[in-house]
C-alpha cells in the first residue's frame, strides 16, 4: 500500500491515485471537484480533479469511488441517503420541522412518511422528540429545504430497519467522523472481525453487557448516537451512561482497539456493571 495521500484545497488528484477499475464511471465523493482547464496545447479541455477540503484521499476499487476524508470534528452537511437522528422542533399541517444540526435551517419530515402511516394512524410527535430518519432529498439551489423520511417510498416499509420515532433511551453527541465510522462498522456484518475501521468498542460493549439484556444503538451521521438499554432493568441508566462514556472517550481520545477494550473494562468496573 502506498503512503497515505493527504491533500489541501487546490491540490490535484493525480491519475495514478484513482482506482483503475474502468467498468463503472468514476464517482466523486465529498471534498473533490472536477475542473476543466482550457489548455493551449490540446484542443480538448483538460480535466483535472482537485480537492476542495483538506483530507486523506480514499478510494474504493470495487465501487470505483474516490473521496476525501476530512477532519472529524466538522459540521454535518445533509447528503441524500444518510441516516440521521433528527429532533422535532414543531409541526405544521403536512410536515414535522426537524433539527438535524443546531443553528441551521430545519429539515422537513412528512407527517405521513412513516411505515403504515395514514391520516389517522400517523405518529403524533411533539417538540423535542427524536426520529431516526433517512435524508430523502436536499433540494436544488440556494437555501433549498432538506427533506427526511422514515419510510422507503418504493416499498412502504421502514427500510433500513429501525427508522421511525426513537422512544426513551438517551442520545450522545460524537464527532461526525466518529458517527461515520460507527455506521460503517455496523453496516459491514460483524462476523468477519471484531474490529472494523479501528473500532472495537461497540462489539466489546455488546459482549460485556449481553448478560444485562444487551442494548440498542442507532447512529446518525449528524454526530448523534441513540442508546437504549431498557432490557437491563434496574441497571438501565448506568449501562446507558457507561456506553455513552465509552463512545465519547474513544472519539475524543482517538483510542486504538486495545485501549478501547481497556476503556470498556475499566468503565464497566467503575459503574459496578462488570459481569
Amino acid at each position: 500500500m502506498s503512503a497515505p495521500l493527504i491533500l489541501l484545497p487546490g491540490d490535484e488528484v493525480l491519475r495514478d491515485h484513482l482506482p483503475s477499475n474502468n467498468s463503472n464511471p468514476l464517482k466523486l465523493g465529498p471534498g473533490l471537484r472536477l475542473l476543466s482547464q482550457p489548455s493551449s496545447k490540446s484542443k480538448a479541455g483538460n480535466h483535472v480533479l482537485t480537492a476542495t477540503q483538506a483530507g486523506l484521499v480514499t478510494t474504493d476499487a470495487k465501487r470505483n469511488t474516490v473521496s476525501i476524508l476530512s477532519f472529524s470534528n466538522r459540521r454535518y452537511i445533509p447528503t441524500v441517503n444518510d441516516l440521521v437522528i433528527a429532533q422535532i422542533h414543531h409541526s405544521s399541517i403536512d410536515y414535522f420541522h426537524c433539527m438535524v444540526t443546531p443553528h441551521t435551517a430545519h429539515a422537513l419530515l412528512g407527517q405521513l412518511s412513516f411505515e403504515g402511516a395514514t391520516k389517522k394512524t400517523r405518529p403524533m410527535l411533539k417538540q423535542g422528540e427524536l426520529v431516526y430518519a433517512r435524508v430523502l432529498s436536499i433540494g436544488v439551489g440556494a437555501g433549498a429545504e432538506v427533506e427526511l423520511t422514515c419510510v422507503n417510498p418504493a416499498t412502504g416499509k421502514s427500510e433500513p430497519g429501525g427508522l421511525g420515532p426513537l422512544v426513551g433511551g438517551m442520545v450522545f453527541d460524537v464527532s461526525t467522523g466518529m458517527a461515520a465510522r460507527l455506521l460503517r462498522a455496523s453496516s459491514s456484518s460483524s462476523e468477519q472481525s471484531d474490529t472494523i475501521d479501528g473500532l472495537t468498542v461497540v462489539s466489546e460493549l455488546g459482549k460485556k453487557l449481553e448478560s444485562l439484556g444487551g442494548f440498542e444503538l442507532a447512529v446518525g451521521r449528524n454526530g448523534k448516537v441513540w442508546v437504549d438499554c431498557s432490557n437491563a432493568g434496574d441497571s438501565a441508566i448506568k449501562a446507558t451512561i457507561a456506553i455513552g462514556r465509552c463512545l465519547q472517550t474513544t472519539d475524543e481520545k482517538n483510542l486504538n482497539p486495545a485501549d478501547q477494550k481497556k476503556l470498556v473494562t475499566r468503565t464497566l468496573r467503575e459503574m459496578n456493571l462488570a459481569s
Binding site: 497515505p4 493527504i6 487546490g10 477532519f71 470534528n73 437555501g143
Partner: protein, 249 residues
C-alpha cells in the same frame, strides 16, 4: 530562528478551530469557524447564491474598535476569494470566523493591524481547513519591512516594524496568485517590486515571474516555507485523526 507553531481543532464546540503562535511578534491567535450555519436576518444578502463570510476579530485586552473593524474588512474580502460559497450546503448560509488575540501585546489605539495580519490570516486559513469549509485553494502570507536604509527584512520584530519606513503584507495563493497586498508608509514602485519578489520566495520558494504575468511553478519539496508550514500542520493532524486507517493499511 524559531518558526511559528500551530495546532488544529483545539476547541470542542466550534466546527473548526486552530491556534497559531508567531515567534517574532510574540502574538498568539486562536481562531474558530462555524459553518455552514443559519444567519438570521441576512436573507437579503447581496449574493443570495453564495455563502456569507463573517469575520470577527477580538482583541485580547481592549474593546474592539475601528482598527478591528478595518482589519475584519481586509480579512473578509480576502477569504471570500478562496471560499467556495456555492458548494452544497453552503449557499445562503454563513461562514462565521472568529479570531481572538490571546497572547502578545495589543495593537495600540490608532496603530495599524498590519503586523498582526499574517498571523490572523494563517489562523483563519487553518481554522477553515479544520472545519472542512470548501475552498478553491490555500494561501500563505508574508510580512516585510523596508528599513530607512532600504533593506528588506522578513518577519520584522515589533521594534523593526515601528522604525521601518514602510510595511508590507502580501499573500499568495497556492497557485501563485497575488491575493492580498496591504502596505503602509512611503515607498516607490521599484521597492515594492523587490518586496513582492522577496515575499513570493518566503511564501512559495521560487523567485520567478515572467513579464507577461506567467508564473513559473516550482513544485514541492522546500521545507521552512510558509506554505509548507500549513501543509505540515494539516498532515500531522490528519495522521493522528486517521491513525486507525493509515496504520491498518
Amino acid at each position: 530562528m524559531v518558526g511559528p507553531t500551530a495546532s488544529l481543532s483545539n476547541l470542542s464546540r466550534a466546527d473548526g478551530s486552530a491556534s497559531f503562535k508567531c515567534p517574532t511578534t510574540g502574538c498568539s491567535v486562536l481562531g474558530s469557524v462555524n459553518a455552514p450555519i443559519e444567519l438570521p436576518a441576512r436573507r437579503d444578502a447581496l449574493k443570495p447564491e453564495e455563502a456569507t463570510v463573517e469575520v470577527f476579530v477580538k482583541p485580547g485586552n481592549t474593546t474592539a474598535g475601528v482598527g478591528e473593524r478595518y482589519v475584519e474588512g481586509i480579512l473578509r474580502t480576502m477569504l471570500q476569494k478562496v471560499i467556495l460559497g456555492r458548494e452544497r450546503g453552503f449557499a445562503r448560509r454563513g461562514v462565521v470566523i472568529t479570531l481572538a488575540i490571546i497572547g502578545g501585546d495589543a495593537v495600540e489605539r490608532g496603530d495599524s493591524y498590519l503586523t498582526l495580519l499574517p498571523a490572523l490570516l494563517q489562523t483563519a486559513l487553518l481554522a477553515l481547513l479544520s472545519a472542512a469549509v470548501p475552498m478553491s485553494m490555500t494561501f500563505s502570507t508574508a510580512l516585510l519591512a523596508v528599513t530607512k536604509s532600504g533593506d528588506i527584512i522578513s518577519d520584522p520584530s515589533p521594534v523593526d516594524a515601528k522604525t521601518a519606513s514602510s510595511l508590507h503584507v502580501l499573500a499568495f495563493s497556492s497557485k501563485g496568485h497575488l491575493l492580498l497586498n496591504e502596505s503602509q508608509g512611503r515607498f516607490d514602485f521599484d521597492t515594492w517590486e523587490f518586496v513582492r519578489e522577496r515575499a513570493y520566495s518566503t511564501c512559495r520558494g521560487a523567485v520567478v515571474a515572467g513579464s507577461d504575468g506567467d508564473i513559473a511553478m516550482d513544485e514541492e519539496g522546500e521545507e521552512g516555507r510558509a506554505d509548507g508550514f500549513i501543509r505540515e500542520t494539516v498532515e500531522d493532524h490528519l495522521h493522528r485523526d486517521y491513525a486507525w486507517k493509515i496504520d491498518s493499511a
